[in-house]
Amino acid sequence: MGARAHGFRDRASEALADANLQRSIASLKDGFVAARARAVAELPEFEAMREAGAAIKDHTLANLDHYLLRYEAEVVKRGGHVHWANDAEEACRIVRDICHRVGAKTVTKGKSMVSEEIGLNAALEADGLEVLETDAGEYIVQLAKEAPSHIVMPTIHKTTRQIADLFHEHHQRYGFTERVEDAAELIGQVRSVLRSKFFAADVGVTGANFLVAETGSNVIVTNEGNGDLTSTLARVHIVTAGIEKVVPTLNDTAVLLRLLARSALGMDVTSYVTYATGPRRPDDLDGPEEYHVVLIDNGRTKMLAGAIRPMLRCIRCGACMNHCPVYLSVGGHAYGGVYPGPMGAVLMPMISGHDKAQELPHACTLNGRCQQVCPVKIPLPDLLRRLRHEQWEEGFIRGKSRWGITAWAWLATRPVLYHRLTKLIVALAGLAGRSRGRFHRLPLASGWTDDRDMPAPQATTFHAAWAKAKRQR
């Protein structure tokens, strides 16, 4: 799924005017922000854990080839298969080929953001497969033919009423003829509908919060239990994962897991953390017959090679967007891609290219709250500024944005000229604005004055006043 970030401004404006969405987003603040703050306040070791988590990720990334090869060897030793995909198209082809070979008709999916990144569902459906998201939130947005708007809470943009309407429309064929609006009843419908699908699935696709090199395991972190039913009941279990998901040992996962649920949800731990390794063993009574891992690059080696490498530490907790005042104003869909918020503003240009995601690094005040809450200390504002730099160097920033800055920088290195010019302009502006103390309208600055007054200057610049005061001393 490519980014549609031209049009960020339009989508943002729509989002600001959407009362339902605004209410839903406000609940993020009251919910997850408050919960995370409580969880962190209770844990004096949290700062040390952040340091340790960042160090584990950086160490792994600095030796990524070694750890991926070790991981692959362990998976194979334990009866699994590892595939490597350069990009989205290759990754989809690998999964499609496996499905074709086993004669799959039905595919169930646990939550996997990378599978959305590569557009897997559309590729499988084009082959005539039935693809069912089983995470309740993903199931809902799949029914609604929408993209998830948050990487942890896909339905944050939807009200209970909207979901009730959706189920009333689509669940009739399962025998649910009455419209219900109770959350428990609605989820009960999801449970009922999907229970038989889990058993019918030929292939189950899950993601991976972590890949463990030591044991060749993939780790999934859920609350619903759908990930395990997906991977255990299908004949074939396929794991889709970015190459940056590997960590060295089980103890490394323990550190990162302590950070993950607290940062994402304000919980110490989720209901389920599963380490899945390979197909069923000879004595097992359940489990898949085949186990495949698709390791996906899709721009990650490019990030590894440059200043953007710290972004690969990301453990997909969503804390950055939960605390971002821009995300909290416009929601996830405004970003136009799979990954929204601060992490999306870095990832989308790197995955899809600057041309497809040009606006995202600029839709940010660089206030730094994201970096403060990131469990692995990713310097997100620095990375966004770096992307702006790349855009500047590569000519993506043009027109007013470019020459305005160029003109300012030119003047700024000519202080004598600057002081003379500004003394004059400010005197005039101060005169014009003196009576009201502010401007209601300013040419060239309607972005400011449409909804704000511009305070008027004080009729002199500081430098002019200082020079005058010095002369008078």
Partner: protein, 267 residues
């Protein structure tokens, strides 16, 4: 004013401080600059204002024009060498000098070292007064209920949080009421406020709503960019809240018009 800190220049010599005016103070509100000078001189500093200064380079740096930012940084470094300290009434500009200059110039050995030296001497005004000079204010009055907006760069890059509150606690008659979401961005963000006005207005409106909830008659902060933004929205909405830079109150220079107010009517 009493001092309990210790400074460069030794026990007897008065520290030589260069004022980093900042472009917005220079253009929009020189009174903040004069307040800063007063506070520094009252604290025993010798204050100079080098003329060859315009801007810290942050607009260029944040827009991606790193080369231009470097040119400006070299000029600032050259202008401001030879002082004991460089102090400015802005967390955002001083964070650029402290944090970003060494990084920006890391590829040029000589300038990198000079940038590091300047960074170590550079301070935001209020943190300089408390952390370095150990200033306690005497005889400053501001009767009123005040609330405080923590500007992002100063807060997160320079850890400025307690210092303004410590200084404001010395002001007679001033009642400080904490702002809900004091640490949430006001939506200024440099060029962000004109590039993404819809989003910026939402953010500043939320800030105004929180200000109203405190019942304060005055909003203070440490960065004029934020204050222009918030005052602009307050005035457009017809709210009576007055807006000053904290330095103006601390220097006893807040009896005139606030930011965005007309010149005072004759009583």
């Amino acid at each position: 004013m009493t001092l309990t800190g210790s400074t460069r220049g030794g026990e007897t010599a008065r520290p030589r401080v260069a004022l980093f005016v900042t472009c917005l103070v220079d253009l929009f509100r020189p009174s903040i600059g004069f307040a800063a000078v007063k506070l520094l001189e009252d604290a025993g500093c010798i204050v100079e204002v080098p003329q060859m200064q315009v801007c810290c380079g942050q607009p260029a740096y944040n827009s991606g024009d790193t080369e231009a930012a470097r040119r400006i940084a070299r000029q600032v470094i050259a202008t401001f060498s030879g002082f004991d300290y460089v102090v400015g009434p802005s967390g955002s500009c001083m964070a650029t000098i402290r944090n970003d200059y060494p990084e920006m110039l890391s590829g040029e050995a000589e300038w990198r070292d000079r940038a590091k030296a300047l960074a170590e001497q550079s301070y935001e005004l209020m943190s300089f007064l408390t952390d370095v000079l150990g200033v306690h204010l005497d005889g400053v009055t501001y009767p009123g209920k005040v609330t405080y907006h923590d500007s992002c760069a100063g807060l997160r890059t320079l850890a400025i949080k307690a210092q303004p509150r410590q200084l404001l606690a010395d002001v007679d008659g001033l009642e400080l009421c904490e702002l809900q979401d004091a640490e949430t961005c006001c939506g200024f963000g440099g060029t962000f406020c004109v590039k993404y006005p819809d989003i910026s207005i939402k953010m500043v409106s939320d800030k105004v709503g929180n200000i109203e909830m405190t019942g304060a008659d005055t909003l203070l902060g440490g960065d004029i960019g934020c204050l222009l933004n918030i005052a602009g929205r307050l005035r457009r909405l017809g709210k009576p809240t007055r807006v000053f830079h904290a330095a103006e109150v601390l220097a006893g220079m807040a009896s005139g018009p606030g930011i965005g107010d007309p010149k005072a009517e004759k009583a």
